[in-house]
């Protein structure tokens, strides 16, 4: 193990480590802690410039109910779910199939098709922006959560295919061979032999895509406008414009926006990390 395990070092450095750890964490998360603290301050504290002192009153409930009552933040959150959940389902479903095709079968254009997905996944968003917006306008799905979700499904299929294909490629091929010898059709092999083994990959991708899409801001501004369709990231930006100097509300809004992916991460940590490393570092 590297570096040297702390329990094998001198007592002095052990104590030092135990003190340094929480301090480092507080410094690392200081900006976030400040936001959390501000989100429970009163408007009076904000106007008086009391940002860092002890709050004069704790307005946890007031501030959080205020943002839900006075702003469309609830709508924004709902829109975020309406974009994120279909995207997760769609992209994972499509990539289970593409990953299966590219991971199991040998055919001439296998690598070129695979590389197309991988390369497409890395292109800058801006080169897609004008045509995708135009396409959505022509299809009549501009400024709808479905239009945004459809684009995300398509784009995320690139990354998901990379992940699924590598995962399936690492599975024992003998299993598929054996099923073929038994005369099982290819479609049944996919459904009954391979799919059950893909559960961990599906879980990993789902959490990862959930976070990516929840946090997407660029496409939200390109393909949607207004509180009826915009997800929380874009919504928070426009609320920030309205709440000039109402920092306690901005902070509460930020915390609400950050909650779902944070919860997702904490509940599904193991899968999340497996997904992030693209399965390459085991």
């Amino acid at each position: 193990m590297f570096p040297t395990p702390i329990e094998k070092t001198s007592t002095a450095s052990q104590t030092f480590y135990k003190i340094a750890l929480p301090i480092a964490l507080i410094v690392w998360l200081l900006p976030l802690l400040a936001v959390a603290l501000t989100s429970i301050r009163s408007a009076g504290d904000i106007t008086a410039g009391n940002y860092w002192g002890w709050p004069t009153s704790f307005n946890l409930l007031e501030n959080y109910t205020a943002i839900f009552e006075n702003t469309p933040i609830g709508k924004y959150i709902l829109n975020s779910f309406k974009v994120t959940i279909p995207t997760v389902i769609g992209a994972v479903a499509l990539s289970c199939m593409t990953g299966f095709a590219l991971g199991v079968y040998r055919f001439k254009s296998n690598l070129p098709v695979f590389f197309m997905f991988v390369a497409g996944n890395f292109v800058p968003f801006q080169i897609l922006m004008v045509p995708v917006r135009d396409l959505s306008l022509n299809l009549g799905i501009y400024n709808t959560t479905m239009g945004l979700a459809l684009f995300h499904i398509a784009f995320q299929t690139g990354f998901c295919t990379l992940f699924m294909r590598n995962f399936i490629k690492a599975m024992p091929y003998a299993l598929i061979e054996a099923a073929r010898v038994e005369g099982v059709s290819e479609i049944k092999i996919f459904w009954y032999v391979v799919m059950p083994l893909m559960k961990p990959a599906i879980a990993a991708l789902s959490v990862l895509i959930f976070t990516f899409i929840w946090n997407d801001y660029f496409w939200a501004t390109v393909l949607t406008q207004g509180a009826d369709t915009q997800p929380i990231t874009a919504g928070l930006y426009s609320l920030n414009g309205q709440w000039v100097a109402a920092w306690h509300l901005v902070s509460a809004g930020s915390i609400v926006a950050a909650m779902p992916p944070v919860l997702m991460f904490f509940l599904m940590q193991k899968h999340f990390i497996a997904g992030l490393t693209l399965g390459a570092v085991k």
Partner: protein
């Protein structure tokens, strides 16, 4: 029909499974790339008739100061964003222990990556606020004058990059933490017997084993640097006076913002950005191709 399927299903099945994925990807990703290239040869406001103007959008770019500012900022982003890799390694080494509660520490350190860049941007605009921001309180405490980071042409890009490095470092940290788990303990012990320690051990024994993690960290960091848009849009909207723009942001601004809808000119900027990214994409694909052949 049925017998044809039975005979050929191993040849047909992959295309059947690929069809929906390829169709979606072609419609929304592959075809738009070429459409953008074609739009870059036109003058177009997004609604009316397109007018073919040849390469004149690109010629205009060559003389556009804002384009060079954006390009320069993109280079700064690329170079400085790389700091996330050693920083992430450093944090990972610090946390790679087995004391009580370390798992929670690791997850909390990873926090900045999970939250949206919109939130990160808001948090940092606040951190930099010249009146009450923590940065300036700290600066004043040690006797410096306050700096309005985001309103200062010389500081603004660095200020935004620092905000971006926060989540990116967390990302690299998690890559290295997983990598460190896979480091071969026997090699470390053997090296210890040979009296290797500290930096030498890290450089000659540990880092070579972390190569896959470093590779992925580089890929995601380069992509992240070239995709930088959210933070700039949230923190400064390109300002002050356009000094914090990068190509991704400038393109958006040209194509649809209050300054007018210059789709053709925006597309030309996007093509330049795409070509820069293509260098990295090609390098990545070449490496992948080698790995595939090596298997």
């Amino acid at each position: 029909m049925k017998t044809y399927w039975k005979k050929n299903q191993q040849r047909l099945a992959p295309w059947l499974f690929l069809a929906p994925g390829i169709a979606m990807f072609a419609i929304y990703v592959i075809i738009p790339i070429f459409q953008s290239m074609s739009i870059s040869l036109y003058a177009w406001d997004g609604l009316g008739e397109k007018e073919y103007v040849g390469l004149s959008n690109y010629v205009e770019l060559m003389d556009d100061d804002a384009f060079y500012t954006s390009l320069k900022n993109n280079v700064i982003w690329l170079v400085l964003y790389m700091l996330a890799i050693p920083a992430g390694l450093f944090v990972a080494l610090f946390l790679n222990q087995t004391v009580r509660g370390i798992r929670i520490y690791k997850s909390l350190f990873f926090f900045p990556f999970v939250i949206s860049q919109v939130v990160v941007g808001l948090v940092f605009s606040w951190f930099y606020d010249p009146n009450f921001g923590l940065l300036n309180i700290a600066l004043q405490a040690i006797g410096f004058d306050p700096i309005a980071v985001l309103a200062d042409e010389d500081w603004v890009t660095y200020g935004i990059i620092a905000a971006g490095l926060w989540p990116q470092t967390a990302y690299c940290m998690i890559l290295y933490l997983t990598g460190l788990n896979a480091v071969d303990p026997e090699q470390i012990e053997a090296a210890r017997l040979d009296n290797a320690k500290g930096f030498k051990m890290l450089w000659y024994v540990v880092l070579p084993q972390l190569k896959p993690a470093t590779f992925i960290a580089m890929v995601v960091t380069v992509i992240g640097a070239l995709r930088s848009f959210d933070l700039i849009s949230i923190m400064t909207d390109g300002g002050p006076w356009g000094s914090s723009r990068v190509l991704a942001f400038y393109m958006y601004e040209q194509a649809f913002s209050e300054y007018g809808f210059r789709m053709g000119y925006g597309a030309a900027i996007a093509v330049v950005l795409f070509l820069i990214m293509m260098v990295y994409i090609t390098a990545f694909l070449v490496k992948m191709y080698r790995d595939e052949r090596g298997l």
